[in-house]
């Protein structure tokens, strides 16, 4: 067997296999909106057949009657049936919208696609023209057209479509430009497909959502303008029924009868709303459609492992986490962290190691009280310096943050507010942790920048985040974190985004800062090299659980969990040249598919039937070493080597 197939992926999601139209109809909002529009359009189109009265027929015996059995929506001041007038009036309004939208698409679609995909001169010219057209006071042009073409609504709507097309053109261009940057478009070009083939097959499908959204929003705007023009009686001359004209009729008599305002107003509002919502639904559906298939959330026991008694937090540690579980909110909560426990002593560097989906970042965020909005701690204790912090509210937690616990994150650039100068950002934290302002805060900020070995800190303080390098940005982030002289620094993959030489410098800096200030570090990483470089202790996580805890030296020599051993072996660094890497078969199970027993059992070469039966307890192996493995003795005895 030469390849290691990953487990059979989830069953096909229906959303992705059906067309956009069907996906829209499948969503409840989409179905209602489409049904409303279809009924409205049919009713208006068939108005001559289904309208109860002639829209112009005056029933002088029933002037301004409210809704009644004879006149469902009442009559106007000339006794004309409002429902019939609405149905007939809708014809011109909806036709106008159609004319405008078709014009819009004819103009915007080809220009936008070409400008985005081809770029170059054509793009520059098209963009300039669009920019000019977008500043045109559209309504004046419409009025001029209506004036010249003697109140021809069709001409006005076509003009409106042309003028509106610059907006859609820009959107399509943007989408095409994004699509052009996608690697699959590059791949298609490399296959030797013609430009037209690339556009039709790979660029256009990605723009389709944007086109429908913009077109339906434009339809909503057009309806507003069209009814507005007829309200000003610039459209078909009276007594022809128009929606805007009906509002104008009602306006002239609203002192006597306010009801007449309701039917046309509500109809216009509902129709505009329907067009607008259609856009929203398409946006939501197309966002979902190509995202990962919604996971089937099976009901699952949140297996609390049957460890002997409830583990008590260690009191002599700076940070002690016990039995910490985190789950999403909602009716069917999804457990993301399952009874996580570890300790950090003062001044110690603990590496939290695992692959994506292991829960290491979630653990770090739980410790500093910054879980994502839809997640919460469901059980367990986080004890910082002797006092529990897991139940603190944000206000109380803020007293700890900065001064006692601080953090740095993975993407140094993203961690700095792009709108402020470096100096002001660092001073902001200084102000929060030291309570000083102005010059004093700035001076302290400069001092901090100097502490993180930034050359010429005054000059750097004046720059904006986008003007410095990634390594420099991470130094600034560290300066912000150490401003309050914290006892614990949470560092979430602090060097992953950096080049290896810059990584080495940042790790050196962290090490020296730690020694100067006796600061403990919780270092989240997936890189064993980083662990070997700075960590004294390692906590290995897999599928939301801690599987092994060990001193850093021991974990490389004698891993006490099959996952740790397999993960180390799957690094090319630990493979002899010319040999195959000992890859772990399969992949990390998602929280939906965590098994009842050992979560690594299906990928483990030491697995026995007992491994899958129930939750695996954490075993104390020796001084400071813990393993969540039933077969740890075999593993450490060295009998079952692959």
């Amino acid at each position: 067997m030469t390849t290691l197939p990953e487990p059979a992926p989830r069953p096909a999601a229906n959303a992705a296999n059906t067309g956009l139209v069907r996906s829209v109809l499948r969503s409840p909002r989409g179905a209602i909106v489409v049904a409303f529009l279809v009924v409205l359009i049919l009713a208006c189109a068939l108005a001559p057949l289904i309208a109860p009265y002639d829209p112009l027929a005056q029933h002088l015996s029933a002037v301004r009657s409210g809704p009644s059995g004879g006149y469902w929506l009442g009559t106007d001041s000339l006794g004309r049936d409002l429902l019939s007038r609405l149905l007939h009036g809708g014809r011109s309004s909806l036709l106008g919208v159609l004319e405008a939208v078709v014009t819009l698409l004819i103009v915007a679609l080809p220009t936008g696609l070409l400008a985005g995909y081809l770029g170059g001169t054509f793009d520059r010219i098209a963009m300039r023209v669009a920019e000019v057209v977008m500043s045109v006071p559209v309504v004046i042009i419409l009025l001029a057209v209506l004036s010249i073409f003697n109140h021809s609504m069709t001409s006005a709507m076509i003009a409106f479509g042309v003028l509106g097309s610059s907006g859609l053109m820009r959107v399509i261009r943007g989408a095409a430009l994004t699509a052009r940057e996608e690697l699959y478009v590059t791949a298609a070009e490399l296959m030797g497909l013609s430009r037209l083939q690339v556009v039709v097959r790979h660029v256009l499908p990605r723009c389709r959502g944007a086109i429908i959204i913009q077109a339906s929003l434009f339809a909503a705007v057009t309806l507003g303008v069209q009814t507005g023009l007829t309200f000003l009686s610039l459209g078909p001359p009276p007594p022809a029924a128009t929606w805007g004209g009906m509002v104008a009729d009602a306006a002239s008599v609203f002192n006597q009868d306010a009801w007449m305002l309701v039917p046309p107003g509500a109809t216009i509002a509902l129709t505009v709303l329907a067009f607008g919502l259609l856009g929203d639904v398409v946006r939501d559906v197309s966002a979902e459609k190509y995202a990962a298939a919604p996971a089937s959330r099976r009901k699952r026991r949140t297996g609390t492992p049957e460890t002997a008694g409830r583990p008590e937090p260690a009191t002599d540690m700076l940070l002690s986490v016990r039995d910490l579980s985190v789950a999403t909110d909602g009716e069917r909560p999804l457990t993301l962290l399952d009874a996580v426990g570890f300790d950090i002593a003062a001044g110690e560097t603990v590496g939290l190691v695992g692959e994506s989906g292991s829960g290491k970042t979630m653990t770090a965020r739980a410790v500093i009280g910054l879980l994502p909005g839809n997640c919460q701690i469901t059980s367990g204790r986080v004890v910082f310096d002797g006092s529990p912090v897991q139940d603190l509210d944000q206000r109380a937690f803020r007293k700890l943050r900065g001064r006692r616990i601080a953090m740095i994150s993975q993407e140094p650039m993203a961690a700095l507010d792009p709108s402020f100068r470096i100096g002001s950002l660092v001073a902001e934290v200084v102000r929060a942790v030291d309570g000083i302002k102005g010059k004093a805060a700035h001076a302290r900020a400069i001092e901090l920048l100097r502490m993180v070995e930034i050359p010429d800190p005054e000059a750097v303080a004046r720059r904006f985040p986008h003007q410095i390098s990634g390594g420099m940005a991470q130094r600034v982030a560290i300066a912000m974190a150490i401003a309050g002289r914290p006892e614990l620094l949470i560092a979430d993959e602090p060097t992953t985004a950096l080049d290896v030489t810059v990584q080495a410098e940042i790790l050196d800096l962290l090490r020296s800062l730690q020694q100067q200030n006796n600061m403990a570090i919780l270092l989240v990483t997936h890189d064993w090299g980083v662990v070997a470089d700075v960590c004294t202790k390692v906590v290995v996580m897999y599928a939301g659980q801690v599987v092994e805890t060990a001193p850093a030296g021991a974990v490389f020599d004698r891993p006490a969990h099959p996952y740790t051993r397999a993960l180390l072996l799957s690094s090319p660094e630990n493979t002899h040249i010319g040999e195959r890497i000992q890859a772990i078969p399969g992949s990390v199970p998602t929280p939906q598919r965590w098994p009842a027993g050992c979560r690594f059992a299906s990928r483990c070469d030491l697995a026995q039937p007992g491994c899958t039966e129930g939750a695996i307890p954490v075993k104390d192996i020796s001084e400071g070493r813990l393993s969540r493995c039933l077969r740890v003795d075999t593993l450490l005895g060295g009998e079952a080597r692959r």
């Binding site: 390849t3 290691l4 197939p5 990953e6 992926p9 989830r10 096909a12 296999n17 996608e182 690697l183 699959y184 478009v185 590059t186 791949a187 070009e189 490399l190 296959m191 030797g192 097959r201 790979h202 499908p205 990605r206 190509y290 990962a292 692959e355 994506s356 080049d499 290896v500 030489t501 990584q503 080495a504 790790l507 050196d508 997936h526 090299g529 070997a532 850093a552 030296g553 490389f556 020599d557 891993p559 051993r565 180390l568 072996l569 690094s571 090319p572 660094e573 630990n574 493979t575 002899h576 040249i577 040999e579 195959r580 890497i581 000992q582 890859a583 772990i584 992949s587 990390v588 692959r642």
Partner: protein, 346 residues
């Protein structure tokens, strides 16, 4: 020359428009060859121009000067949209999300290059479906994968799909541009194994680009070390990694942490011994691009551009002080017995 190279790049220069109408030279006079069935690893940090070289070979970068020969014939340096497609060169990109069209089924994606080639050659398209099924099976994807969409696959599986798309036309050369960099360690191992297995079966050559030295060392026969668009050192993977000649290569190797706290402590000391305060701004033009950060730099390094000088059997190094430098204080613990973990792996 032992065999005729499959790919031969000579004096390749790529310029990008930079600030204030200046041009930024991303690739500066790079020579490289890839023999049939060979893997050339290209390693460098961000800004080294490694991905630009890949783009130039694929015809999606603005080549300013130099030639790219494939199987002896010179490739049209024009952008790919204007030149004849070369089916024999395929590519696997880094980002497994962006490299697959989310609106197309996996089967369509994998079949597309094959169908495009068959159309060009006016051949029948009869057994495309069978070939796609075989290829999907070959890269370890389930049978029903062809009818599903990329969103339903994990990152590792998507990379398998991208590999299937590259190999379906039986290319001679596959450019892997950071093909495993976005993957988790255990998935990366699976994909690396897949790539080496397919290479062994089909005899394809790889131009393997990565920032990760351990990956490069594992897959490559020969290695090219790039810094700021220039080749600093080349040679067999073993010789470059075991006894680096260029000061930059040494710094790069010393910066990469090893999976062993003891050896890492030594490496850290080695790293410290190379570290100097940068002397002024990064030099441009006729100088060594690394001179300002080099512990061994002399005046000549700032004034004269070093040429590649042969070192051993097939190595070369671009350093004025080659031969004068003290040997690298290589780790004391021999590589072979660095940990019991790897011993157990034999």
């Amino acid at each position: 020359m032992k065999t005729d190279p499959l790919l031969q790049v000579e004096r390749l220069c790529v310029d990008y428009p930079g600030r204030r109408r200046q041009r930024f030279r991303a690739v500066d006079s790079v020579d490289l060859t890839v023999a049939p069935g060979e893997t050339l690893g290209v390693v460098g940090e961000s800004g080294s121009g490694k991905s630009t070289i890949a783009k130039a070979i694929l015809g999606i970068a603005p080549v300013t000067a130099g030639t790219v020969r494939f199987e002896g014939s010179e490739l049209d340096p024009r952008r790919v949209r204007r030149r004849k497609p070369i089916t024999d060169i395929q590519v696997v990109f880094q980002d497994p999300v962006s490299s697959l069209d989310p609106t197309k089924t996996v089967g369509y994606t994998v079949a597309e290059p094959l169908v495009a080639r068959l159309r060009r050659e006016r051949g029948g398209t009869g057994d495309v479906r069978r070939q796609v099924a075989e290829m999907l099976d070959r890269v370890g994807l389930p049978e029903n994968a062809a009818s599903r969409y990329p969103a339903q696959f994990s990152g590792g599986q998507r990379q398998r799909i991208a590999i299937a798309r590259a190999f379906i036309v039986r290319p001679r050369l596959v450019v892997c541009d950071e093909a495993v960099s976005a993957l988790d360690l255990s998935v990366q191992a699976q994909i690396l194994n897949l790539l080496t297995d397919v290479q062994r079966e089909l005899g394809v050559s790889y131009l393997f680009i990565s920032h990760d030295l351990s990956v490069i060392e594992h897959v490559s026969d020969r290695v090219l070390v790039l810094y700021r668009g220039r080749v600093m050192e080349t040679g067999s993977a073993a010789s470059v990694v075991q006894s680096p000649q260029h000061p930059y290569t040494r710094v790069l190797l010393a910066a990469a942490p090893v999976h062993d706290p003891l050896r890492q402590r030594q490496r850290r000391e080695l790293r410290a011994s190379y570290r100097i305060e940068p002397r002024g701004a990064a030099p441009l033009g006729d100088s060594c691009p690394f001179a300002h950060r080099c512990r061994f730099a002399v005046d000549r390094c700032f004034q004269e551009r070093p040429v590649l000088r042969p070192t051993g059997v097939d190595g070369a190094v671009a350093c004025h002080r080659y031969g004068e430098l003290p040997p690298d204080a290589e780790d004391d613990i021999p590589r072979e017995s660095r940990s019991t973990t790897t011993e157990g792996s034999k």
